[in-house]
Amino acid sequence: MTKESLRESSTLELVKVSRNFGSVKALDRLNLNVKPGELVALLGPSGCGKTTALRIVAGLESATSGDLFVNQVRYNETPANMRDMGMVFQSYSLFPNLTVTENIEYGLRARKVDPSLRAKQVTKMLELVALGNKAKSFPHQLSGGQQQRVALARALAIEPRVLLLDEPLSALDAQVRKQIREEIRSIQLNLGITTLFVTHDQEEAMAIADRVGVMNHGRLEQIDKPTSLYNDPRTPFVASFVGQANKIPATMRNKGKVQVLNQKINVSEKDSHFPEGKNLNVIVRPESIELASENDPESTNGLVAIKSFLGPLTKLGIAVEGTPLIHLSISSKEVRKFNIGDKISFKISSEEVMVENV
């Protein structure tokens, strides 16, 4: 299936969308703009409103206020079954009494598509998800990964304006999860279909999306490319939810500097307002901590408490008095000489750090 066979890629726009459940604000004036063919991931802890946002787009939930546009057309009042949006659910959404083929053609039958066209489309979709040999199986005869691939094929069969993915991988095993997320991304890129992907797993969001929107308490804290989000988080919440972050106790010094362990480091412009002597947490990524010579006056000594081999990289947890374990992430070759209980010296290598109130 080539890009041309699908309808034109659509835009998706949410304008000040709110949703209240009783007194709880599940969504609080959410603005979101998805460009044609883009894959945007909504990332956040459970209860942050990401799924509510997705369901409002699908028409399965209605907004308390705000507007939804697809290709500049207002969609607020369009019933779910008239929206032409393909959705993949977390799990168990295949019709149990229908075969794989019947599941995939369900949307086409609802649209009264000609039988021969329908059969063609099903064949195309089965090829797309590499399940040609399972056409006549029932859902219960498939593995979890295969079921989700059928669910994707079923959602794509109707050539939807927008593809909606609601934690499609979270019920799968670690190994399968990585494989299917790559397949999803690959298919999405091939078809050039505008996609909204909801997940609580930051690694998944970063690995798959063009842009990631980090949500917290019904609001979008930051939306950006994965690299920008990771290297330049705008809030402490984003910094600690996206990637890993050490929180090291520190004290504000004069001239926009902060005393952390044996180092004085610049804080970013926007954080320099904290008064001198204020106790703060400095947020530092594991890879921004490097091994240092014991003689370096800026280095800190600690003991290796945890050593986690992660393939090319190894993560060390270092015990230093007065702070939680400090994590650093270095190449597995370099770290070989250190064992648990060994003394180790390190320093923070960033020129500027982010701080948060304790």
């Binding site: 028409g59 168990y92 219960h140």
Partner: protein, 259 residues
């Protein structure tokens, strides 16, 4: 290890005892039912006698007619109700659950007396008033059977998937909901059917003639014939159950998920 085997013995014993509660009466009764006149030899004589009694076919026909009506009425009432409760009406569910369990708790005798007072006299004059009672006494089972079937499938997700794919509500009900809870619908129908056939208290208090009241009357004349009736009913019950089991096994397979 000693504890383990003593527990095993204790438990096996109770399994055996509860099995015997049924097996002995049944085997004894079926042997009796084939006994010849004056207790000599074995034959189908008692079953033949049964069929030639006055009112056998007539009461059987009445019973079947009422049972079928009760089964149908029950489904028409409860399938949409239960689907609604599971989809959107979660907050009403405890109330309906409560109402549906009442017939189990209220003594049937009181139910009959209470209802006689309040029931419109148009209904009271026909045997169809029994259909109303049969539906009521089946409610506890219908509720449970349909609810179990609905909870075994992820109804909300299935309905949302169907809507998302462009299906109307009508298509969703016909193609997704009903096939998914087929086993529950069958169980509910057969249970209503079986309960209606077996109902005696209300039928007899309201002085109607059905197979169950006929059974009692006929049984008083001939003890071996009465036993034959009971075996006849029992075999019918087993047949019904087998059908239910077949349907519910088949659909259980459909929702089992491999990981």
């Amino acid at each position: 290890m000693i504890q383990k085997s003593s527990k095993f013995i204790l438990i096996s014993a109770s399994v055996i005892v509860s099995t015997l509660l049924f097996v002995i009466p049944l085997v004894a009764a079926s042997i009796y039912s084939f006994k010849g006149n004056q207790g000599k030899g074995y034959s189908f004589a008692n079953y033949l006698w049964l069929m030639h009694q006055d009112g056998f076919f007539q009461s059987l026909v009445t019973t079947l007619k009422l049972a079928i009506l009760a089964g149908a009425l029950n489904l028409i009432l409860m399938v949409p109700t239960m689907v609604f409760l599971n989809l959107k009406g979660a907050k009403f569910k405890p109330l309906v659950d409560f109402l549906c369990i009442l017939p189990l708790i209220i003594p049937v005798v009181s139910l009959a007396i209470g209802a006689q007072v309040s029931m419109p006299s148009i209904l009271q004059n026909t045997e169809y008033e029994l259909v109303f009672f049969y539906v009521v006494i089946s409610l506890p089972f219908t509720f449970r059977a349909l609810d179990n079937a609905l909870q075994a499938v992820s109804l909300n997700t299935l309905v949302e998937a169907s809507r998302n794919l462009g299906a109307t509500w009508f298509r969703t009900i016909v193609k997704v909901i009903v096939p998914s809870i087929k086993s529950g619908i069958f169980s509910a129908m057969f249970l209503t059917f079986a309960l209606s056939i077996g109902e005696y208290t209300i039928t007899s208090l309201l002085h109607w003639d059905t197979f169950s009241t006929w059974t009692v009357v006929a049984g008083q004349q001939n003890i071996l014939g009465a036993i034959a009736i009971s075996i006849f009913s029992f075999v019918g019950a087993i047949a019904l159950l087998t059908i239910i089991a077949l349907f519910s096994n088949k659909s259980k397979k459909l929702i089992e998920v491999k990981e």
